[in-house]
């Protein structure tokens, strides 16, 4: 394998931002026809390195060679035209436009005689690429009407249509279900066989070991090592990534399940896919919700929390009916909800840590009728920073400047400050590095030990098996079954998840 020719070479790359050295003498060598995984905790410099490659950042030092020639792309379009493409974690697409508009944006095929965009050519050429990759999408669909997974396929097709030799995947599976992941891997394998070089950035170990040929590990902006994927274990990678050994991926499960606490009866949604779901939750329990993308997991939480329109159904807490007509009522009833898309529906980007932490519990800091007590708010915020070990320069830092894991901790703080007894967590560890994940698992179990009910939606099955007591499996908007997390297997869950598809 090492005999294959080097497609892309980055050497001695350094990049500084005010106050931080984001990259320090980093190197990367990508061979043709291989998948090269790039790993590291959040903030290790993976994204920065890629941004230097694509000219989004200007590197301070170092050289980049493509096919042996030195290159310096001025922007991602320049890179694309040289055959270097990126499939972004947050897709940069014109969502209101259709698939083929997005595919050919910036290079619309023209009619033969007239300087007019040819819709016909666009359609045909799009179909050609889709057929080639086995993608089943109508080129005339509006982007925003498709799930993330399909939008991502379009992005890949676009890269292929540019004849890209190097394709970078940044966390491609973070919003995909297992079936979609399989399809993606098939495409990646296909690209590898054609001689493309693939850089694959992900936090998911099992994926990395499955798909990649080589792994380069970064830590704190430095190059650590490049390993052959066949001869490396998950623990070795983790050790190299964090610079210490993590013995357990999941903390010990020592919560005790108590009395019946939450009862959901025949819950159906008016506008989204959720039909007749009934289940019971117990005090001190960690209850998982598994299912494929679109199975109604998020919808279930949204309907319980009252931020989606309910058609029918009843919710009982401790035997008493609660209405939860909106988020305010739900919070009063002891519910809390961590949403799936942190950036879109979680953080207040330009606001500081304090404002982000206290927004849901402001009434608690009132001194008199109108006036908020700064000292109380600052104490509450500090409690969150200390308890969750949030890394932030101070309370006045804008939350958008924190890493994903720390942003998540601030939002969790926001909910803990409302003193909830039932927590609805939608993908609580998405896009978070290994160390922070472990801390969040610990927190979930700690909350359960305090007698709270924690409902966790996750696409990562090992995670559900690792921390939950029971797992509800959703399929096609319905509850397909309920399994005991200690006795079940991934296979059993997958079978249930496919029940109503």
């Amino acid at each position: 394998m090492s005999e294959k020719n080097v497609l892309l070479k980055m050497e001695h790359i350094s990049k500084s931002f005010p106050g931080v050295k984001a990259l320090d003498d980093v190197q990367l060598e990508l061979k043709a026809g291989t998948v090269h995984a790039l790993m590291g905790e959040n903030g290790a410099g993976k994204s920065t390195l890629m941004k230097c490659l694509f000219g989004i950042y200007h590197k301070d030092e170092g050289k980049i060679f493509l096919d042996g020639k030195e290159v310096n792309f001025k922007d991602s379009k320049d890179a694309l035209e040289h055959g270097v493409a990126m499939v972004h974690q947050e897709l940069n697409q014109a969502l209101k436009r259709n698939v083929m508009d997005n595919m050919w944006l910036g290079r619309f095929p023209m009619m033969d005689k007239l300087p007019v965009v040819s819709e016909k050519k666009m359609y045909e050429q799009t179909m050609e690429v889709f057929k080639d990759l086995g993608i089943n999408v109508n080129p005339k669909t509006i982007m925003s009407e498709m799930p993330v997974s399909q939008r991502q396929m379009v992005e890949i097709a676009k890269a292929v249509s540019y004849n890209a030799k190097v394709i970078v995947f940044d966390e491609p599976t973070s919003s995909l279900t297992e079936v979609e992941v399989e399809h993606l891997f098939k495409i990646i394998n296909d690209l590898r066989n054609r001689g493309c070089g693939i850089i694959y950035i992900s936090h998911k170990m099992d994926e990395i070991l499955r798909i990649s040929d080589e792994v380069t590990i970064m830590r704190d902006g430095k190059y650590i090592a490049t390993k052959d994927s066949k001869n490396v274990t998950m623990n070795e990678i983790i050790k190299l990534m964090v610079g210490r050994e993590i013995t357990n991926v999941y903390p010990p499960k020592d919560n005790v399940v108590g009395d019946k606490y939450l009862e959901v009866k025949n819950l159906s949604a008016e506008y989204s896919k959720l039909e007749d779901v009934s289940f019971t939750g117990y005090r001190g329990e960690v209850l998982g919700v598994a299912g494929l993308d679109g199975a109604g997991r998020t919808e279930l939480l949204e309907n319980i929390f009252g931020i989606a329109t309910r058609r029918s159904g009843e919710i009982y807490v401790d035997g008493k009916r609660v209405l939860n007509r909106n988020s305010r009522e739900s919070i009063k009833n002891g519910f809390a909800m961590l949403t799936e898309e942190r950036r879109a529906t979680g953080i207040f980007g330009v606001r500081d840590i304090q404002a982000n932490s206290t927004v849901s519990s402001l009434e608690r800091y009132l001194k008199g009728k109108f006036m908020l007590d700064d000292k109380k708010m600052s104490e509450a915020t500090q409690w969150g920073i200390d308890t969750l070990k949030t890394k932030t320069p101070n309370q006045k830092t804008q939350i958008k400047n924190l890493s994903g894991g720390n942003q998540q901790k601030v939002i969790i703080t926001r909910w803990l400050l409302t003193n909830p007894s039932i927590l609805l967590l939608d993908e609580p560890t998405r896009g978070i590095d290994v160390g922070a994940k472990y801390e969040i698992y610990e927190l979930i179990l700690k909350l359960a030990k305090e007698g709270k009910l924690v409902i966790v939606v996750s696409s990562e099955m090992p995670e559900l098996l690792g921390i939950c007591d029971r797992i509800l499996v959703m399929s096609g908007g319905k509850l397909a079954g309920e399994v005991d997390a200690r006795k079940t297997s991934q296979e059993e869950i997958m079978t249930l998840a496919a029940k109503y598809v």
Binding site: A344, V359, S360, L362, L366, F370
Partner: protein, 338 residues
């Protein structure tokens, strides 16, 4: 290498403070050309005009924090002004049956109610129909202007300018607060200061204020977090409406008359002042001190240009350029640095 970085840093520093630098240059230039510009009379004039324009800017700033705007502001000022002028006179042509001015507090309450009502219409439409504030307030701007014109036709007035307000009212607004030498500082400077403190308190020390910033920063996240987004939006626009009404209440006395054109284009100055002061259209950011500085700096420039006898026509062009430059500089802060 180091030199290059230094030069970039200096350039950044200049660009980020370009507005202040331009203003400093204007002041220095005008002061050299017309030394009276920095005299007591001129400075008090600048401060008084700043105070007169503060309430409207404080109101509009809230709408901008919501990542919106309010272009109906000037017309609400106008409506408040003509209502005030028509009710606080002993010979009202609009209300011939009114032989004596209404009590001053009652008139203040009336205009505040009118301002709050239009603000409510604005806020309700934005919140309930998910309309962009620009469209909503464009509509209410036209509607309010229509109401002003109709009102001015009332009684036997026939659209004429309103004046002859009672002395106690004029005294209350434009009377002397204190004197510096022979120049008197008017009462409304004090009122403007009080309103500034009140709005500062609302923004920084109340649940409503914190919620306003949250909604401006990320409305979806605010909704999930238990903020009543619709109520917050409506309240911000109502508060703004009240501030415009107060501006109009001052203006009738300050100018000494009120016409259908009173208040026209006031929002453009107020919006410019907010943007210069760092209340960003990005939403969720802004400080009262910024609004204060913005209004003051804008007034310094206009007064300075007046001292230089720059034509009124030219002033429009300069105003436009100031808004453009201020927004461009502001936006620099929010672009991802590359």
């Amino acid at each position: 290498m180091n030199k290059k970085i230094d030069r970039k840093k200096i350039l950044d520093l200049i660009l980020n403070n370009a507005m202040y630098i331009i203003i400093a240059l204007v002041v220095i230039y005008v002061a050299i050309k017309r030394p009276k510009f920095l005299g007591v009379a001129s400075i008090i004039n600048i401060l008084s005009l700043t105070a007169a324009k503060l309430p409207i800017a404080l109101g509009i700033a809230g709408c901008i924090v919501l990542a919106g705007t309010d272009i109906s502001a000037g017309r609400i000022v106008g409506l408040s002004s003509v209502i005030t002028a028509s009710l606080l006179t002993n010979v009202s042509k609009i209300w011939p049956q009114l032989t004596q001015a209404l009590p001053i507090p009652l008139v203040l309450l009336i205009v505040i109610a009118v301002g709050a009502l239009i603000g409510f219409v604005n806020g309700f439409s934005v919140a309930e129909f998910s309309l962009h504030p620009y469209i909503v307030t464009l509509s209410t701007q036209l509607i309010t202007y229509g109401i002003i014109l109709l009102y001015m036709q009332g009684g036997t007035n026939n659209g004429m300018s309103l004046s002859g307000m009672i002395e106690p009212y004029k005294e209350l607004i434009t009377g002397t607060l204190f004197k510096i030498g022979t120049v008197s500082v008017p009462m409304y400077v004090l009122y403007a200061l009080i309103f500034t403190v009140i709005i500062w308190f609302i923004w920084n020390k109340t649940v409503f204020g914190k919620n306003m910033f949250a909604v401006g920063s990320n409305p979806t996240a605010a909704e999930v977090s238990g903020v009543n987004v619709k109520k917050t939006i409506i309240m911000v626009f109502m508060l703004a409406g009240v501030m415009y009404a107060i501006t109009g209440f001052f203006d009738a006395a300050r100018i000494g008359s009120a016409t259908a054109a009173t208040g026209q284009n006031y929002e453009s100055d107020a919006i410019s002042a907010c943007v210069i002061g760092g209340v960003s259209f990005v939403g969720g950011t802004g400080k009262i001190s910024g609004v204060l500085v913005g209004v003051l700096l804008l007034q310094v420039i206009f007064t300075g240009l007046n001292f230089l006898s720059v034509s009124a026509n030219m002033l429009y062009i300069i105003k436009g350029l100031i808004i453009l430059i201020a927004c461009a500089i502001d936006m620099r802060k929010y672009l991802t640095k590359k």
